[in-house]
Amino acid sequence: MTTGVRGGPGSAAVTFENVSKHYGQVKAVNELSLEIPQGRAVAFLGPNGAGKSTSIDMLLGLRKPSSGTIRVFGKGPHDAITAGHVGAMLQSGGLISDVTVRELLTLMTKLHPRPLPVDEVLKRANIADIAERKADKLSGGQTQRVRFAIAIAGDSDLIVLDEPTTGMDVENRQIFWQAMKAQAERGKTILFATHYLEEADQIADQVIVINKGRLLANGTVADIKAQAGFQKISFRLPGVTRDHLVMLPNVVSLEIISDRVQIQTSDSDKTFYSILDAGYRPEDIEITALGLEQAFVAITQQDNGADAPAAVVEDAR
């Protein structure tokens, strides 16, 4: 995949260097440094108010950082956009009235230094069937797909999507991610913010988690899960009660439903061996990593203060 390489091979698609954005006293983004290599699909996660949208706005040159530097393919954000490196789909927004989808996309291709044929854009975004419809008379899911089409109207190297599937039904969402995967296979770098963590889990090569405007985690999905440090042990053990298991080492939470036990642990090996050492012989054993969603909740809670995970432990006992 060399189609997406700009600014020399190996150079990053996006670099944030000590980027901060203040609104009065509020630090929406605080000394954020990160790097996104070319050709990756990157999920950008964080709770509401974590600074995701502000970071994306700065990346796209819509807002200026209070301090720090952002480079996009080695250029400033605005220059990168003017050069056609970046296609973006913003979080919200309607489409203009009195134009068809095709006319709107024709315009967008003309506003790109490296335009794609309109029919190709329609095909890639899966909206050929609504090309002749009026752009402001579409359903929510269709509107989102047209907005995605706007983001890919040119042969951009980086595609930025701010919560692209908000308001889409399941079917639309699947169609959408298919279209996105196809973009990734063309060697594009994709950065998407989302609230749907299963999407990030399935699609992202790299996950960036921010909280309170700071970088919290940056790695593969497996890295994030490992950083959360939790695994899940699940087994069947007839006749067991809470009192038997709650003193096991490294247990974070414990749940027993009839004879089915579910344990969240920060060290599945230790916890499991001590179950055996205590003389129990559980059946139907499953040891799994947490889902990305649970990992995400765990690391943001850890970051929000030591009291948050402690409360979980207390709850378990």
């Binding site: 796209l60 819509l62 296609g87 927004g93 315009l107 003309k110």
Partner: protein, 246 residues
């Protein structure tokens, strides 16, 4: 530049398809002109002048159409498109930073042409006789004068909160026309003195003076230019503010 042209072309297409725009630009001024000028006897003069009432209304309603075309469309569209995030979306393209505003100015300037022409054509068919040079001169004055309204429309679209844009636009549109003598000759007095400060009055008066061959007062031109420049500066400032706010 091709981007700005493509956007302008689409803006004109959108305006031509929009019933609201067609109403304010073509239908409303023409119907009002027919109702007023059509019912006035051909020989009736504006009090104290040698100008026929029909010719007066011809100029008045052509300038009214130009006002509607230049002001109402842009004010509404810009406010809506700001709210909907369209302007932000355009900022994520290679379109030059002022490309959006340029396209709005260009499309308003072009849409003003039929707004003036339709009243001229209807007026001509009703027996208003002018030399070709006077038709052309009046047209050019009204057309160029409409720049003040275009700038005002942009300033309102960017500067007024979205939910107040409609009412402010209607106030400027109707109020400006009322005091500008678009609906009836002001006939001297306090009303006319107030009206003289407004671009609606001065555009109409200037076009009328060109037709009658009356002396064109430089104060009138100065007022019109002041409005055009003032509204443009305001529009530019509001536009910058809109840009910073995202």
């Amino acid at each position: 530049m091709t981007g700005v042209i493509a956007l302008t072309r689409l803006e004109i297409l959108r305006a031509l398809r929009n019933r609201r725009v067609m109403f304010f630009t073509i239908l409303y001024p023409t119907v009002l002109f027919l109702l007023t000028a059509g019912t006035a006897p051909a020989s009736k003069m504006v009090d104290g002048t040698h100008l026929s009432l029909r010719t007066y209304f011809l100029i008045a309603y052509a300038s009214f159409g130009a006002l509607g075309a230049a002001l109402t469309t842009n004010a509404q569209k810009i406010a809506t498109e700001r709210k909907e995030g369209w302007i932000r979306q355009l900022r994520l393209t290679a379109l030059p930073g002022n490309g959006y505003v340029i396209s709005k100015i260009a499309s308003a300037t072009l849409i003003t042409i039929p707004a003036i022409a339709i009243v001229f054509i209807v007026g001509g068919s009703m027996g208003v006789h002018l030399s070709a040079a006077k038709w052309l001169a009046a047209f050019l004055v009204l057309w160029a004068g409409a720049l003040a309204f275009t700038a005002l429309g942009i300033a309102i679209g960017y500067g007024v909160p979205q939910d107040s844009v409609q009412i402010v636009t209607i106030l400027v549109y109707v109020g400006g026309s009322f005091l500008g003598g678009q609906f009836f000759p002001l006939g001297g007095g306090a009303l006319e003195n107030v009206g003289k400060a407004l671009p609606t009055y001065q555009v109409r008066q200037l076009a009328q003076d060109v037709i009658t061959g009356a002396h064109v007062p430089s104060s009138g031109i100065a007022i019109l230019i002041a409005w055009t420049v003032g509204a443009s500066v305001l529009a530019a400032r509001m536009y910058r503010r809109g840009v910073d706010a995202g």
